[in-house]
């Protein structure tokens, strides 16, 4: 396996881009990443995307997007793992370079969600759940996560106020991130009084619906030096899964897919949870973020909510988590999110992140998941 480096990053602001279609949104991020990598010429394209087929009536995304950004002729494909598609796309791009098939690979993530009303988007997102045994009953994605949230609060005695500390912090960080969708501050009271989506989950426990694209240029070691003064190494990648149906989980409060992916990523990078200085974790809902912190070994089981409410994982702590504002407030253009996370950590390591800055981290972690913590990727980055 060869070493792989991030040598270029590009992002669009997340939001309701009514003036841009899927292709032009992607192009904006992809061309920025290529420019950032001194005009590199990618030899392959990997695109993370969940909803193009169900919501945008578009398949064959790899070739479509490669051609649109001037890469006609290169091999291109889409990677789908529901809301975790972006992280799996990074893993796929990493593998192509690490295995020696290509020296320079463009990894992008793109999602176009705002063209349709919420119930239509909600039905498309629900396809991440089990069609025969969950979706058929009208189960929405927030409702399936609400099952876990209620169980978490009852089993560990976590209060609603403690759970609300997370979204408040995410909005504080997103307020300072020019790429974020929800750039406003909220209070604990706002979370408690927000409209209920699927009790106990409120609107302010949930990531917003938005459009966005992010891209990375990945390169092998010898090429990386030519394309960047500050290449960031992808030091370890791990992938994991769990049952898509919530009902047959061995333990609903043990995020197996996160644990499995993290164990591999830590081992391959030769690090432990205590070595992680900065992390971006998957907080599509408050409960998802808390369970992710526990699965990653950053918080002991059952204690993430209390620790967060006491101020842990904030700017200045170790690790500093979701300085971007997280899925909650930076936004969650589902298939692009995992690519945003890696781009954000790479920018933090270069000292160029335009929002809340980390304390010059050497080791970082990005984790995304699809479904109710069913498909997880963990990527360790090292400066």
């Amino acid at each position: 396996m060869r070493k792989v480096f991030v040598v270029g990053v590009g992002m669009t602001r997340i939001g309701r881009h009514f003036d841009k279609d899927l292709k032009s949104l992607f192009a904006e991020a992809a061309l920025r990443a290529i420019d950032d990598a001194r005009g590199a010429s990618p030899q392959a394209l990997v695109v993370g995307n969940m909803l193009s087929s169900s919501l945008y009536q578009q398949d064959n995304l790899g070739a479509l997007l490669a051609d649109y950004i001037g890469l006609r002729g290169v091999g291109a494909l889409k990677v789908e793992a529901a809301c975790g598609s972006g992280g799996f796309a990074v893993a796929m791009g990493y593998t192509l370079v690490a295995a020696g098939l290509y020296d320079v690979v463009l990894v992008g993530g793109v999602e176009k969600m705002s063209d349709y009303p919420t119930p239509t988007v909600s039905a498309a997102l629900a396809q991440a759940a089990d069609a025969e045994y969950e979706v058929v009953y009208g189960a929405s994605f927030p409702a399936l996560n609400a099952l876990a949230m209620r169980l978490y609060m009852e089993s560990y005695g976590a209060s609603r106020e403690e759970m609300a500390a997370w979204p408040v912090r995410m909005h504080e960080y997103a307020y300072q991130n020019p790429y974020a969708q929800l750039r406003f501050r909220i209070t604990l009271d706002d979370v408690l009084k927000a409209p209920v989506v699927a009790d106990p989950i409120t609107l302010l426990d949930s990531a917003p619906i938005g459009d966005g694209a992010a891209a990375l240029v990945l390169a092998s070691e010898d090429v990386a030096r030519k394309l960047s003064d500050a290449p960031v190494e992808i030091a370890g990648v791990g992938l994991g899964s769990d049952s898509v149906d919530v009902s047959t989980r061995f333990d609903i409060l043990d995020p197996l897919s996160v644990r499995k992916a993290a164990e591999q990523a830590y081992r391959r990078a030769g690090v432990e949870p205590k070595d992680i200085e900065i992390a971006e974790v998957h907080d599509a809902f408050t409960i998802t973020g808390l369970l992710s912190l526990e699965g990653l070994g950053l918080a002991p089981r059952g204690e993430a909510a209390k620790l967060v409410a006491e101020g842990a994982f904030a700017k200045g702590d170790r690790p500093e988590v979701n300085l971007s504002g997280g899925l909650k407030a930076r936004g969650h253009p589902v298939g692009a999110t995992g690519v945003y996370q890696v781009a954000e950590i790479a920018l933090q390591m270069r000292g160029e992140f335009p929002g809340v800055k980390a304390s010059s981290p050497e080791v970082g972690l990005a984790q995304t998941t699809g479904g109710v913590l069913a498909s997880t990727s963990v990527i360790i980055l090292r400066r």
Binding site: S122, A126, Y133, V135, V136, Y137, G138, A198, D199
Partner: protein
């Protein structure tokens, strides 16, 4: 969601009779059924029927529902646990959210879950209702 009569018919055992799979080697029970035991890897799985009564483990009250389910909102979605360890995800009917509590006994009933317009197929399925103890 799009309805196909073949798709509904194919699931008749699991959907209407609550058929689960039980691992003959380690004894774990799965609903929906699995072909290979996720816990021990055994392929020696038998079909069993779940009991009609179980206990409510956790639930969600869904106000924002996917397209096509507007008229059923709010949907109470429950996770019901049986004595043999299996769980079933299904709507809770004939109950108000404030009555629900963890561990309460619920019973399976056959109800309509979805109608595909006035002339389309009506999908039936299991829901759970609270039982007086």
């Amino acid at each position: 969601m799009r309805i196909s009569p073949a798709r509904i018919w194919r699931e008749r055992g699991t959907r209407y009779r609550l058929e689960a799979s039980r691992c003959r080697k380690c004894g774990r029970v799965y609903y929906p059924p699995k072909t290979v035991c996720p816990a021990c890897g055994s392929r020696d799985m038998e079909r069993i029927r779940l009991p009609e009564r179980g206990r409510l483990l956790t639930w969600a009250v869904e106000y924002t529902v996917p397209e096509g389910f507007r008229r059923y909102a709010p949907i109470i979605l429950g996770l019901v646990e049986f004595d043999n360890g299996a769980r079933v995800l299904a709507p809770i009917a004939d109950a108000r959210p404030e009555e629900l509590r963890r561990g309460m006994v619920v019973e399976a009933v056959l109800r309509r879950v979805y109608e595909d317009g006035n002339e389309g197929v009506i999908v039936y399925g299991v829901k759970f209702v609270p039982v007086e103890e």
